[in-house]
């Protein structure tokens, strides 16, 4: 459970919206190289955080039983540098959705100030393949992600039952 660029999922409304937070701390080793004497949170890692928030939201449409991956970053705009001590709030919305894929629009704010905005496409690798909807074959929503979800207030895996129809 290493490659997590969100610390907590704050809310998840199946197939509609998701929120997450990330606290940027000086204990993160890469900040000492990026840049020496002036630590700045890398934008690439904030893109990953937006992809993880949007990806979890996209995964909720198939009850986390199919492999949904980031396929395209149509837009990513950053408005200011992020420094240690900042708390980032991710808000993601699925603006278009189909069995084959989804488009999520995500913002990052810090103390109400817009930090970044993105538009991303996710595709469902299981569409077109005759694969049983089962968590065993899923390599995207692994145990680590499910643990994050379990810590999300109000999340109940029973809301994502086997055999449930797609949203």
């Amino acid at each position: 459970m290493r490659w997590f660029w969100i610390d907590r999922i704050t809310h998840l409304e199946k197939g509609k919206t998701a929120g997450a937070v990330k606290n940027v701390t000086l204990a993160e080793e890469h900040l000492h190289d990026h840049f020496p004497g002036y630590p700045v949170n890398p934008q690439s890692l904030m893109i990953e955080g937006m992809a993880q928030t949007g990806g979890i939201l996209a995964g909720s449409t198939v009850d986390f039983r199919e492999n949904i991956i980031l396929a395209k970053i149509t837009k990513a705009v950053f408005h200011r540098l992020v420094r240690p001590g900042d708390q980032l709030r991710f808000e993601s919305e699925l603006v278009m959705t189909s069995p084959e894929g989804h488009r999520a629009e995500t913002t990052i704010t810090c103390d109400g100030e817009l930090i970044a905005e993105s538009s991303m496409m996710f595709v469902n690798l299981n569409v077109g393949n005759d694969v049983e909807r089962d968590r065993d074959g899923v390599f995207v929503f692994t145990e680590g992600f499910m643990q994050l979800l379990h810590e999300c207030p109000g999340f109940d895996l029973a809301d994502y039952p086997v055999g449930d129809d797609h949203v």
Binding site: A71, K72, T74, M96, S98, P99, G101, R103, M121, V123
Partner: protein, 129 residues
């Protein structure tokens, strides 16, 4: 129903957003793949944006046909057969296939998917509603 100019304008806007290209690159003759650099994932993005722009639902494979090239009846020696061309015409009645028919090499199929073809598809869909 919007006129041809309005349809083109909305299609152009959708493609500019989906493919990060300039307005003037999106001409009626421009091929999505060759001229505008579209890749496979972009086709789904384009479909999403067209659905939103025109308030229609575009069924999977309707605008960009699937399962054509993996059918041995339709492809032989890297070219579309007469049956394949017939199927293509049936599925894409609004596409201009004249140029492609002269040398129906599979590799050139992407050239058929032009901005004008999308406009033709939208017109036919809006006509039928």
């Amino acid at each position: 129903m919007p006129d041809k100019e309005e349809i083109f304008s909305k299609v152009q806007e959708s493609l500019v957003e989906a493919l990060s290209v300039d307005d003037d690159e999106v001409t009626a003759e421009a091929s999505l793949t060759r001229d505008l650099g579209a890749e496979s994932i972009d086709f789904l993005d384009i479909v999403f944006r067209l659905e939103k722009a025109f308030g229609i639902k575009i069924p999977r494979g309707d605008l960009f046909p699937e399962n054509l090239l993996n059918n041995p009846e339709y492809v032989e020696d890297g070219k579309l057969t007469d049956a394949g061309l017939g199927e293509l015409k049936e599925r894409l009645p609004y596409a201009d296939l004249a140029e492609f028919e002269k040398n129906p090499v599979v590799g050139n199929l992407g050239d058929v998917f032009t901005v004008g073809m999308i406009c033709g598809y939208i017109e036919s869909r809006l006509d039928g509603e």
